[in-house]
């Protein structure tokens, strides 16, 4: 068995470190038992020993039931099943050793089940009914109050009536942790503390934490020494954070003593699990015991205030959020043409309400625009930027008093300023100004002197609570977390809008880029497909050419074979016929017959040869022939022998070239054939003593150079109805000719084919007895024919 009383001296340098939950002592009016999860006794307070009965040694574990009874044990088990952190459960009365006790169960952080007992005073019961009725009245009234101050007034009145403390205060903390007395109900004659401020240090941090966990704190008598708590097996301090009767820290005792307080009771007002305020009761002359029920009622009352707070905060937040949303929606849907400054200016009334600002400035691209209250020197803004800028776009800083330290020499009524940088492409500094709020703080004692030095080398809690007035200047209402959040949202909204504008422009550009690149892609696709088409056609053409080549080759083979196969037997027929005809021993009839055989064969040969002449392989050779002849020589060479031959038949042939006599003639063989055939035709059909005239001349017709060749005769002419027929192959005319060795009806057909090949035209002028004139027009391809001059 070990006493867990912490006897170590606490030095005030580290009063925040004071382990006030591990003091190992209990206020005397409470009893404490500690059990492990098997419900075996582990701890007990000194004043509970008598309830242990005969137990003198603790070798054998002591059951809970043996101390508190079986129903208490049942209750304990039930509690353990549902136990939650910071949960304290008040139980009903139990009779232990013939005395009525109330038990409060809690499970501490070390998993020790604490059973705290308080002996019930029977006389106290009568008070409960009226107290509950009063609480009910209080709760009903809660509905009609809409601000905290009014509620505070009601709360303190109720508390005082319930408990009888000399003074009850509703204490509200500000963002610094300093407390202000919002409402007070006090005994007549006492000095009023209403409106006084208490520095944050009056309630050190670990105490605040405890107030957050354990929301009811009763100290009945600061003079009570308290009773130690014993640990049966362990020397480890017992965590009394959740304890109802936990004893008071010496420093706290001293503090209360300095204030003249003898007994105190405090309830925590929490909001979102953080200390929002406190309801503090003080008694000055006498100790005051708040009994079990009274404590419960105060707890209930405080809980109702908590609920009201939650509600009111929710309403307040919702109202604010609505305004914020209104502003954000208005800003986002506003025209993108307006500058940030103009947008803010337009929405200034709303911003004013939301942020509590009286003016703003926008510094962008070297230009500054102000609206409303603003500092007059640019150097101030620069100063602020330099000193306040975090360097990262999107972050911002704010202060409620920095402004007073700026280099501004002008009088300004600006207290606080928030600075944001909401630009994406370039810095856009926006300053929001809060007006100065002059405050008079009534400190209960000089706030900087919370602890006094004494000769004992420790600091004692302050003794002086004398009113110390402080006039706060150059400060604005501080920026609340809601303000900060909204500034962040505002920054985002501005940046998003800028991004959207940029993106819109980019998209437009991007769209046209995309469109253009799409067009280009399309064009390329089209070009590709055109190219493919062309390639396919080319391939087809190549194929066709190949085919044509093959056909041509085949034709040549066939042709030459045919040639050979025709000529060989013909040679035989003709030759042998000649032999017969020349054989002196042959009869006249046989000679005649042989002659006829030969002539028939010759004619066949002649026809065949003319047909073969249409073979263009001959013509190709013609085209590639190197020697080009001047037209005059050409005609002379061609027609001189014919002229001689025709003279024998009493027919005349003349020719003339009318111009460009030096022209080199192209395709001489084909032209030769054309002229010869026409001349022969004229000779054949012209009758006896026909005169044939050949003339050639060069002309330009519609910009194209043309060679005209005409073959004219003074023969009988061609009847009109025959004029079309004569160009047909094998047409010999209606007039029968008995000349078997000449004429195949192919002459004009050949002429027509050759003229077509040369892309020329042929014209016939003839009337019966008026002669015949054939005119051939051949276009000159300048690369084939050139002039010498």
């Amino acid at each position: 068995m070990y006493s867990l009383e912490n006897k170590g001296q606490v030095l005030l340098e580290n009063c925040e470190d004071e382990p006030i939950h591990l003091l190992g002592k209990l206020q005397s009016h409470g009893l404490l038992f500690g059990f492990n999860h098997h419900l075996k006794l582990t701890h007990f307070s000194a004043n509970a020993k008598h309830l242990l009965g005969d137990v003198s040694s603790f070798e054998a574990p002591v059951e809970l039931s043996s101390i508190l009874g079986t129903s208490a044990e049942e209750s304990a088990r039930e509690f353990l099943k549902s136990a939650q952190p910071s949960f304290l459960r008040y139980d009903h009365m139990y009779t232990i050793l013939a005395e009525p006790y109330r038990i409060a169960w809690s499970l501490n952080d070390d998993q020790v089940l604490l059973a705290e007992l308080e002996r019930v005073d029977p006389s106290e019961n009568s008070a409960s009914n009226s107290s509950i009725a009063e609480l009910q009245g209080f709760i009903q009234n809660l509905r009609s109050y809409h601000n905290e101050e009014d509620i505070a007034v009601q709360v303190v009145a109720y508390f005082r009536k319930l408990t009888g403390f000399d003074r009850v205060m509703y204490y509200k903390f500000d963002h610094n942790g300093d407390g202000e007395v919002l409402a007070e109900d006090k005994k007549v004659g006492l000095e009023s503390f209403l409106g006084l401020r208490y520095p944050a240090t009056d309630i050190p941090a670990q105490a605040r934490k405890l107030y957050e966990r354990n929301t009811v704190r009763s100290i009945c008598n600061i003079k009570d020494e308290g009773v130690p708590i014993y640990g049966i097996k362990s020397t480890a301090p017992i965590d009394l954070s959740l304890s109802v009767y936990r004893s008071v820290s010496p420093i706290h005792v001293e503090y209360l003593n300095n204030m003249g307080v003898r007994a105190t009771h405090a309830n925590s007002i929490l909001h979102l699990d953080k200390l929002w305020g406190m309801i503090i009761c003080h008694n000055y002359d006498e100790a005051l015991h708040v009994n079990f029920e009274q404590r419960q009622l105060t707890a209930l009352c405080a809980d109702f205030v908590n609920s009201w707070l939650v509600n009111s905060e929710l309403i307040r937040t919702a109202k604010r959020k609505t305004l914020e949303a209104e502003w954000l929606a208005g800003f986002s849907s506003g025209s993108s043409e307006l500058s940030v400054f103009d947008e803010l200016k337009n929405s200034f009334p709303l911003l004013k309400t939301l942020l509590g600002i009286s003016g703003f400035s926008v510094l962008q691209g070297g230009e500054t625009h102000h609206h409303g209250m603003h500092p007059h020197g640019k150097s101030v803004l620069d100063y602020l930027i330099t000193n306040m800028q975090t360097g990262k776009v999107g972050e911002f800083v704010y202060t409620d008093h920095h402004f007073g330290k700026a280099e501004a020499t002008e009088d300004t009524d600006i207290g606080g300023v928030a600075l944001i940088n909401a630009g994406l492409a370039e810095d856009t500094f926006i300053f929001f100004y809060r007006p100065e709020k002059k405050e008079v703080y009534n400190w209960a004692g000089k706030p900087t002197m919370t602890y006094e030095k004494s000769g004992r080398h420790n600091l004692n809690p302050r003794k002086s609570f004398e009113l110390w007035q402080e006039t706060v200047k150059g400060k604005s209402i501080p920026w609340s977390p809601d303000d900060v959040k909204f500034l962040s949202d505002l920054t985002d909204a501005i940046e998003v809008k800028e991004a959207l504008v940029v993106r819109e422009a980019q998209e437009k550009k991007g769209y046209s880029e995309v469109f253009r690149s799409f067009q280009r892609k399309n064009e390329i696709k089209k070009l590709k497909s055109d190219l493919e088409k062309m390639q396919r056609e080319f391939t087809k053409t190549e194929q066709v050419i190949d085919e044509a080549k093959r056909v041509n080759e085949l034709k040549e083979i066939v042709m030459s074979n045919m040639n050979h196969e025709m000529r060989t037997p013909l040679n035989g027929i003709i030759g042998l016929s000649d032999l017969i005809e020349g054989d002196p021993e042959a009869s006249e009839d046989m000679k005649t017959y042989a002659g006829l055989i030969r002539d028939s064969s010759l004619r066949m040969l002649y026809t065949f040869t003319r047909l073969m002449k249409l073979d263009l392989t001959e013509i190709k050779a013609d085209k590639t022939s190197a020697g080009k002849v001047v037209i005059t020589n050409f005609l002379d060479n061609l027609l001189n022998p014919v002229k001689a031959k025709l003279r024998l038949e009493n027919k005349t042939l003349e020719w003339a070239i009318h111009n460009s006599k030096d022209t080199l003639i192209s395709n001489p063989i084909i032209k030769e054939q054309i002229i010869i055939n026409l001349v022969n035709n004229a000779a054949q059909y012209g009758g006896d003593s026909v005169h044939i005239q050949v003339s050639a001349k060069y002309l330009s017709l519609s910009g194209k150079r043309v060679l005209h060749i005409s073959v004219e005769d003074d023969g009988p002419g061609i009847p009109e109805d025959e004029q079309n027929m004569i160009f047909e192959p094998f047409y010999m005319g209606k007039k029968v000719t008995d000349r078997l060795d000449e004429g195949s009806g192919l002459g004009l057909y050949i002429v027509k084919s050759y003229v077509k090949y040369l892309r020329g035209t042929i014209e016939l002028q003839s009337q019966p007895n008026k002669g015949t004139k054939f005119t051939v027009s051949i276009p000159i391809e300048t690369r084939d024919e050139d002039t010498l001059h």
């Binding site: 030459s560 040639n563 050979h564 196969e565 025709m566 000529r567 060989t568 013909l570 040679n571 035989g572 003709i574 030759g575 042998l576 000649d578 032999l579 020349g582 040969l605 040869t609 073969m612 392989t617 001959e618 050779a621």
Partner: protein, 122 residues
Amino acid sequence: MKILYIEDNYVNRLIIEKSMAKYATVVAEENGFKGIELGKSDDFDFILIDLNLADPEIDGFGVLKALKKEGVKAVTAAVTAFAGSDWKKKCLDAGFDLYFPKPVRAEELWVELNEFRDARNA
């Protein structure tokens, strides 16, 4: 004058033999190689060669080449059913002095052969 005619076709040989007989002595030979042997003796004035010989191993061009190699001095002429200027060129390029497409008439043949011979000897 003597004419050597190398030709595989009987009818053709017959015609030339008979029709040229009045101008000159005609030796008609069927086989190409035999024709070369005959030509080597070099007492012909004119050697007429059919291009399309039956022998798979030699054709008219081959016979001509062989004869030329032997330094035969006769006037050589291709006599052939292969008609056309291409063939003419081919034959002249190959070394034939003259080219006669069939059917060829005896008189024309004799005139041309002599004209050429005279022109060459002049």
